[in-house]
């Protein structure tokens, strides 16, 4: 085993992995955001606005899950860079092609 591999192994054990207290706080925030979502469901908002707010809150929740529960905040930046940007790009492409059309159809049907 090379010295370099030893250095990596040591780094892996030394880096902060989060405490039970931190994880409990993340869990509480996730519950709080969920409660806000359930509350919003009973406010009669327009579907597009409603969908935008709900997806926005869900994105915050998934960022919390990925960063803390899935530990990505504590990994090397390189791992984040090969995984997340390409995925986000693909999802954005799906949205670009779908959404203008669905909003157009919605207005067409409601007229």
């Amino acid at each position: 085993m090379s010295a370099h591999a030893h250095a990596i192994a040591a780094e892996d054990h030394d880096h902060p992995v989060g405490s039970a207290r931190l994880f409990s706080w993340v869990w509480l925030w996730l519950l709080l955001l969920t409660a806000v979502e359930v509350f919003l469901a009973y406010e009669r908002l327009a579907p597009v606005l409603m969908l935008t707010i709900l997806v926005g809150l869900s994105l915050i929740k998934s960022a919390l899950i990925i960063a803390y529960f899935m530990h990505l905040k504590f990994e090397r930046l390189g791992l984040f860079l090969i995984l997340i940007p390409a995925m986000v790009f693909c999802i954005c492409m799906m949205l670009i092609w779908f959404f203008p059309d669905s909003v157009r159809l919605m207005h067409m049907h409601s007229n």
Binding site: A5, A9, E37, Y68, F69, E75, F98
Partner: protein, 210 residues
């Protein structure tokens, strides 16, 4: 990370450097699976959102009881299972085998509770005449998207419970190490993450406004 993970790495000018991401191959593999699976779910969720917005007559059948109360409870259970999972991984990395296995079992119990409550939700909808092909509200796609999305997610939870069971067994026997527990945790948190999109978009977008 166990030291044996790095044995066998042969240095060559074309090897791309030693472990540039400082994770073992299992973890990198699981992350790549998660990225591809998240694109599968994204495609389903985006097409559902398209259908939902393009149909102003989309049914809004979910009452506070049972649908919203149950699905909120399921969300609480799944989020709590992620907490027990992450605490289990932390215990495993500290070498506290009994504690880690107990947390894994707690996570599995939560997962099973999620599936069982969800099954009762499905039965309620069947009783109302909702199938993947038809429903009383004359928007057949409602059933297709609902059962498609929640069904695929439920399948993931069921597989996750089985996966955690195998890992808990092997880890308690000393067959596998804390890395295996951590990688199974990644899968479990991902299943939780997907529900964070399905719950608001499928349930909360179709609350009965009465």
């Amino acid at each position: 990370m166990s030291e044996t993970e790095f044995e066998g790495i042969v240095e060559s000018p074309w090897s791309g450097g030693h472990s540039p991401f400082a994770v073992n191959s299992k973890k990198l593999g699981m992350w790549l699976f998660i990225v591809s699976d998240s694109l599968t779910f994204s495609a389903l969720i985006v097409s559902y959102a398209w259908l939902r917005l393009a149909n102003p007559a989309w049914p809004r059948p979910f009452e506070i009881w049972p649908a919203i109360a149950k699905s909120s409870l399921m969300t609480l259970i799944l989020l709590s299972s992620s907490l027990t999972m992450v605490l289990g991984v932390a215990a495993a990395h500290k070498g506290e085998i009994k504690k880690a296995v107990r947390y894994l079992l707690a996570t599995m119990v939560c997962g099973l509770a999620f599936v069982l409550i969800h099954a009762t939700e499905w039965v309620t909808l069947f009783d109302e005449g909702v199938t993947p092909w038809s429903n009383p509200w004359h928007v057949p796609l409602f059933g297709g998207t609902f059962f498609g999305l929640t069904g695929l997610h439920m399948l993931h939870v069921t597989i996750g419970v089985a996966y955690l069971g195998v890992i808990a067994w092997g880890y308690s026997k000393g067959k596998w190490n804390a890395d295996h527990v951590e990688v199974s945790g990644l899968y479990w948190h991902f299943v939780d993450l997907v529900w964070m999109f399905i719950f608001p978009m499928v349930y909360l977008m179709s609350v009965n406004p009465k």
